[in-house]
Amino acid sequence: MRKTVQNLKVIANLRLNDDHYILQLQAPNQLQAIDPGQFANLMVDHSPNVFLRRPFSIYSVDYENNTISIFIKVIGEGTRSLARLTANSSLSVIFPLGNSFTIPNSNEKVLLVGGGSGVASLMNLSQVLGRNKNEVVILSGARSSSDLVELDHFSRYGKLYTTTEDGSHGVKGYVTDHPVIKDELDSFSRIYTCGPDPMMKAVAAKAKLKSIFCEVSLENTMACGFGVCLCCVTETTQGHKCVCTDGPVFNTNQLKWQI
């Protein structure tokens, strides 16, 4: 789909809890295909200290109603300002941006590992995989149960497991402490992951050990989001690549941080 700058209408801004919101946006025209892993760059108005746009995964797409939704975890002034948006306001969005996850064959069993709000970039993927009749297992790790949101939603598309660092939900510990990764990793033909760097690196290391196909979605800071500023690079086997255009999805074999 051709990338565009559009003014989308906020149709709802669902507050999941203090820190987590889902922003539903109405496009004026028919949406073209948006692939899982692609993202949008949102303008933040009315916020004196926010100058640049803020990138967010496209959480889910509804082609019938021409709406997209964005999952927002509040971490600073930009996200706080977006969380305050009310229905009927208008939001400038550049989308769809970036590449997308590789879709497996229908029979494959795949593992999705999300850390914190990184899980947001896996929602659209899990829907597509569900439709693609894959056997999907989703492992969502967080610091505490309050960071685990939208679990019902995810469990619609696959088997859902959780870990929390404080043990308040699911297995206590990091995602890599979960039996699905510790004991059952061989059963998956692909792993898709997004979350904090240390988590992604740990997951990628396990995948490499078992020679399992592994894709990560990176969240480098961005100035433009469409490949012109060269600020968002990551080191790959072929030199610096832009996370916004060559990514955000990379096969971990391509990345320098792959151990």
Partner: protein, 303 residues
């Protein structure tokens, strides 16, 4: 519709709105957004004779009404530009200038010689002001003799117009402007970024991999405007203004200060349509003020 045509040295521009090097890629990245040929000109990415990996990540820090970058002239080199990128630019009906950098005078010359072979390139913008490279760049642009030396050397081997991009990180920018004018520059463009720094108080580390980086965006506009005004009064060659231009009003301010044309930089990141909106906005301004042509306001600040 007012007459937006402008002339820089001997080159005609359909309008005075160009896009700044390093903020517009090679133009092709904007094809999805609008017809790039509507622009007065495009200054493509900083190009060097040898391919450059650029600096390590993180390369960007957001600041108040601006941003710091330390891209460090990442590019695949002049030969790759000629073979792989240039052919894609032939479709554009606008002036394309290549922003040329080097670590030594010889590298500038070699790079300019390759660009000299390309018919569809209207000129080069000589970048003697990049703050993000260890060698060359700003080091050339902060002293009169070295600035003049680069320009003189490139002048000998490059046949088409040379626009020299000046650094704002100097005590007196008019001295440098006069030096490059004497050395054969056909025009000057300013400002490149101001050397700045960002620190993350929580991690107690610099935000940028190179500690310092170049500041751009509205934060620098007052400084850019002052320098354009000073330089326009000091040299006879055309002055191309930039630094924090986000909308047509900003652009008009630069014309009044003496800019023959302007460049849109950081604004492209926030609104990819910014440059086109600025062209429309300039036209609207001129019509509203009953001014027939952009040339009637250039340097016409009422003192």
């Amino acid at each position: 519709m007012a007459d937006l045509r402008t002339k820089i040295h001997n080159v005609d521009y359909k309008n005075p709105v160009l896009t700044a090097s390093g903020t517009f890629g090679y133009g092709v990245e904007f094809d999805d957004f609008f017809d790039v040929s509507l622009l007065g000109g495009i200054i493509v990415k900083g190009t060097t004779i040898h391919p450059r990996q650029g600096n390590a990540y993180p390369r960007m820090a957001e600041t108040a009404a601006g941003m710091l970058n330390t891209v460090g002239l990442q590019n695949k080199g002049a030969k790759y530009f000629k073979s792989d990128i240039y052919p894609n630019l032939l479709k554009y009906d606008t002036n394309i200038l290549v922003n040329v950098s080097g670590s030594t005078v010889a590298e500038y010359v070699e790079c300019a010689e390759i660009i000299n072979e390309l018919d569809h390139i209207a000129g080069i913008e000589l970048n003697i002001s990049c703050p993000n490279v260890k060698e060359g760049g700003m080091a050339f642009g902060t002293s009169c003799p070295s600035a003049a030396a680069v320009v003189r050397a490139v002048r000998n081997s490059y046949k088409k117009p040379i626009m020299v991009k000046l650094s704002p990180n100097v005590t007196d920018i008019t001295e440098i402007a006069i030096a490059v004018e004497s050395a054969g520059a056909d025009s000057v463009s300013l400002i490149n970024t101001l050397l700045g720094m960002a620190i993350n108080a929580e991690t107690r580390k610099p935000v940028l991999s190179t500690v310092t980086g170049g500041l751009s965006g509205p934060a620098v506009k007052p400084i850019a405007l002052r320098m354009v005004w000073q330089v326009a009064r000091a040299v006879r060659i055309p002055v191309i203004g930039m630094g924090g231009i986000m909308n047509a009003t900003d652009a008009i301010e630069f014309f009044l200060a003496g800019a023959t044309a302007i460049q849109v930089g950081t604004a492209n990141f926030i609104d990819p349509m910014a440059s086109i909106k600025i062209i429309d906005g300039i036209d609207e301004y001129l019509n509203r003020h009953k001014i027939n042509s952009i040339s009637e306001i250039i340097g016409c600040l009422q003192m």
